[in-house]
């Protein structure tokens, strides 16, 4: 690797928000990313880190009918992924374009809403490298939503035929059958009045536990009963992520007030607080392998790498109270600030857990290695 901390770049054609690690690809370190362009033809890029680790290669380029707001790779099949997309307005749109969309038949139109949102499961065609302009194959569309869809969740720890999709008001549990290419709503729950859901995370340790974020709290659901089990009262949470290594640990990112680490057994107050970013902290993600290693991306055009082990926290609490002013600078390992715009997309590689990919709004993917900071541990 040349230059250690300097990242490897890759440019998308348009602006983009979401990047996902292709977990099921055990042979290569690859990422999926989709563009967010209102007026142009959107694309999904399959990017692979070259074996030397010095280059990002575009392994596949697929056109996607609409701008992509959320993208998640299937954890057990590297060719399957999900997207959430919006189509813009029905009424202000040029007619031919509109007709094209009708043809694809994937889009769900919501009466009364100016914008329309959709979510779908896609499959990358086989032999895609040999085709000139390969088309994505739609496996299923998650078309039960009537509101603005926020995200689609896969269970992160392995093969599971269920999917979760979250819109402003509802939580849907889908049963996905890849071979039959169908997705059916298994159950649905409304979050209740005055709770506009904004996103969520699926507990990697418990197949039945899902956390959803809304304006004033994080809510926890049991998927068997579809009942609320717990809640953390907290305003303006942008993003939540479960710790892959430690059970009960959830990390949240908030607009103004940084990053909080919660022990879900003690939802009253956070276990730990990190200062976060100068502006909003947009995304936060825990390393799948190294304990307490957390990445956060912010709208101040930077990505911060934190070390905040929670397991040792219990023992060290008394100490940390005494030393708190001195230790304040401690958890921040590095700040990657070589971005031109806000960073919204962030993903650890599960194959090479010391590598992460970040995506800034100007469509630039940067893959970095955190190896130089691991040795400091």
């Amino acid at each position: 690797m040349q230059g250690g901390s300097s990242g490897i770049g890759y440019g998308l054609k348009y602006q983009a928000r979401c990047i996902s690690d292709v977990k099921a690809d055990t042979d290569h370190t690859s990422f999926l990313t989709g563009t967010l362009s209102l007026r142009e033809e959107n694309e999904v890029h399959l990017i692979r880190l070259s074996s030397g680790g010095t280059e990002l290669i575009c392994e596949g380029l697929f056109s996607h009918p609409n701008e992509i707001w959320d993208l998640a790779s299937c954890p057990f099949d590297q060719r399957i992924f999900s997207t959430v997309f919006s189509t813009g307005s029905l009424f202000d749109i040029d007619l031919p374009f509109y007709g094209l969309k009708m043809e694809t038949g994937l889009i769900v139109f919501f009466a009364g809403e100016g914008e329309s949102y959709g979510a779908a499961i896609w499959q990358i065609p086989e032999l895609y490298g040999q085709l000139n302009s390969p088309q994505l194959e739609r496996i299923a569309s998650l078309d039960a939503h009537t509101r603005k869809i926020n995200c689609v969740l896969w269970w992160p720890s392995g093969r599971h035929d269920k999917l979760i999709s979250i819109d402003d008001e509802n939580l849907f549990l889908w049963t996905l059958d890849c071979s039959k290419k169908t997705a059916q709503v298994q159950s649905k729950q409304t979050s209740g009045m005055l709770h506009y859901l904004s996103g969520g995370a699926w507990d990697p340790h418990d197949i039945n536990a899902v956390a959803t974020t809304c304006e004033s709290s994080v809510q926890f659901w049991d998927l068997r009963t579809m009942k609320k089990t717990n809640a953390v009262e907290r305003a303006h949470i942008r993003n939540a992520n479960y710790d892959m290594k430690n059970n009960h640990i959830l990390v949240t990112a908030e607009d103004e007030s940084g990053i909080h680490i919660w022990d879900l057994r003690k939802p009253k107050s956070p276990v730990k607080e990190l200062p976060g970013h100068t502006h909003w902290t947009w995304a936060v993600t825990c390393n799948p392998e190294y304990d307490g290693l957390i990445l956060s991306a912010g709208t101040d055009s930077s990505v911060n790498l934190w070390l905040a082990p929670t397991s040792a926290e219990e023992d060290a609490t008394s100490e940390s109270i005494v030393e708190s002013p001195a230790q304040q600078a401690g958890p921040l390992l590095n700040s990657y600030s070589d971005y031109e715009d806000s960073v919204y997309g962030l993903a650890w590689s599960s194959r090479e857990p010391w590598t992460f990919a970040s995506l800034s709004y100007d469509g630039r993917v940067v893959v970095e290695s955190v190896k130089p900071f691991l040795s400091r541990k």
Binding site: Y14, Q15, S37, L38, R39, E40, S86, G88, S89, F91, D92, I93, E113, G114, E115, Y196, S216, E233, R234, A235, H236, D255, E256, S257, S269, P270, E273, T278, H279, W280, T299, D300, S324, P325, Q328, E340, S342, Y361, D362
Partner: protein, 779 residues
Amino acid sequence: METDDVPLDDKAKRMRDLLSSFYAPDPSSTENAPSNPGTLDAINTTSFDADQYMNLLIQKSNLEALLQRHVEMAAEIKNIDTDLQMLVYENYNKFISATDAIKRMKTNIVGMEANMEQLLDKIMSVQSKSDGVNTSLFEKRERVEKLHRTRNLLRKVQFIYDLPARLEKCIEAEAYVDAVKFYTGAMPIFKAYGDSSFHDCKQASEEAIAVIVKNLQGKLFSDSESIQSRAEAAVLLKQLDFPVDSLQVKLLEKLEQSLGDLQLKTNDIENASMESNDPKQGKVSDSVHITAHEGSVRGFAEAISAYRVIFPESEEQLIKLVQDVVVKNFETTEQYVKGRISSANLLCVLRTIWTDVLLMDEVLSEAVLPVFSLEAAQIALKQHVASSFNYLLQDISDALLRVNVSSKEAAEEHPLQVALEASKKAVLQGSMDVLLDFRQLLDDDLQLLVQLRDFIIDWVQEGFQDFFRALYDRFLLLSGRNSSSRQDQGLTGAHGEKVLAGLVLVLAQLSVFIEQTVIPRITEEIAASFSGGGARGCENGPAFVPGVICRIFRSAGERLLHHYINMRTQKVSTLLRKRFTTPNWVKHKEPREVHMFVDLFLQELKESASEVKQILPQGLARKHRRSDSNGSTASSRSNQLRDDKMTRSNTQRARSQLLETHLAKLFKQKVEIFTKVEYTQESVVTTTVKLCLKSLQEFVRLQTFNRSGFQQIQLDIQFLRTPLKETVEDEAAVDFLLDEVIVAASERCLDPIPLEPPILDRLIQAKLAKWKEQNLISP
């Protein structure tokens, strides 16, 4: 033979050895040399073996040596031969002289027997004569002895009969010592014959003794008697087998009672010293109390010393008693210290106690009262120091919390400024007062305090250290930012009410003030009058570490300032969130006027600016900026350019637009949006504005707009330029951010055609006029 002795000394000695060995009782002892047949020396032993010797000799020696040996041996044999002859001769000689001696003895002993018999006769006659004398004198001596005994007895009887009278006399003369002596002398007789012959006598003397006992008791308890006589009385009573212990207990009770009085008096003094805070009460009553108290203590001390003389074994009880007094006094002092008192008052109390202690120590040094009270005083003083700091902390937070009250009333024009000044004063003046107060403790020459000097210095230093830590915690609590029970907008904090943003700003500025002014002052003051100490041990270093405190407050100041900005921007964020999530942007109607959220936004900024203006100093950079703002026409021209460019790109409607903005960014110097916040009005306001605009941009990016929606945003932002420029320091960054918002909106627009410049101008002018009008009315 005698003549032989001198020349033949050596020879004679050998001879005598041989002789003595011959006559020696134990033949084995002659074998002084252990036999060793294996060597040539064995020739002179009993176990001598001639053959073996020969063999050995032949084996070991050559011919010459053998010859030599032969000659030697021949000489030796000759020698031994002569020795032998001499021995025989001498033996014989001695034998003859012995026979002579025996002959002479026989003749001398014959005449002795007759002399002996004569001596015996004489001794016998002496003995018989002495016996005769003895028997003749015996009778007379017997009589004399009998007469003498009778006389003694008679004298004793006489004494007994006289005893009552004698005792009476003694009572009259108050010669109790004699009386007791007499009585105890007569006691055995009364015991033996009291019931029979001397009955009356006994009764009479017992009566007299009862009187004596009564008198003695009276004497013992009467304070007017001299201690000496009282002690004597106690001793006499003891001799009379009177139960002294009960007396002792009684007397002790009396002492304890007087002690209770003493205790009450201490309270009185505290009351007095508290009252003496009132100028009306004056010091007269105080001093009166003190003298009265001193008198009673002196009396108590005397009583104790008397008691000690009277009952010498009672020390332990007394020590306990006295220590009790001191403990109780210090307990009340500690109680007293819990309240809010000045060191002068404490000093007053301590001085009183110390004089008491010294007085008592004089009479009862075994109680080690000074040491004892030193320990107690240590505790009391420590508490005093701690409570002083507690009250200081309380004062400061009170001063701060007044912001809440006063701003609710809203009567004052600059509530925050007032609060800041008040709290600044509370911190500085309060700390100085506390220091001055403690100085009094140090300057006093009271022995008690002099001994505790080092401790006091340490406590004061430690106290400050802890105080500032506590103050820091309190600041965090007040700002709602303490880590355990965290604030947030919607959440009600630990103290039930929403934290005022202004208060946070006051706290931030106060932290800076503490770091820059208070700590150096205190450090100076401590160095001047509280240096030394060191009772804590050198390895810990001085208790008060200004560096650490400064660091804490510097970081606290920064954190609080950021927190303030955060709170402000959060408010705006909620405003913006509402603005952008509620309307349906895709079906937005054509813009008619600038949206009212702009007003609200500016309102928030104004509020913040007014708070900031009260608290923070003006930045120096301001003037510089002013001169710079002459070029504002240029910047507006560049806006024009930008607009032109936008329209052009719209006509092209090409995807190259994104590329173009990228290119523009490349050529533009990267504007540092998030710079370090400084403690100036401009810096804080600018940072707030920047963060808000950035949030605005982010909110815009999350929406999709139709043409009218985009135009509305364009209008709003264009309007914002003018008022923002007036308030903000870093025009370039704000301009850049405003542009960014418009770019973001155009990127998220399906049909980004901007408003025609004339329409835009007209709408903005209308709004500006309205805004200015409002501004003229409101301030």
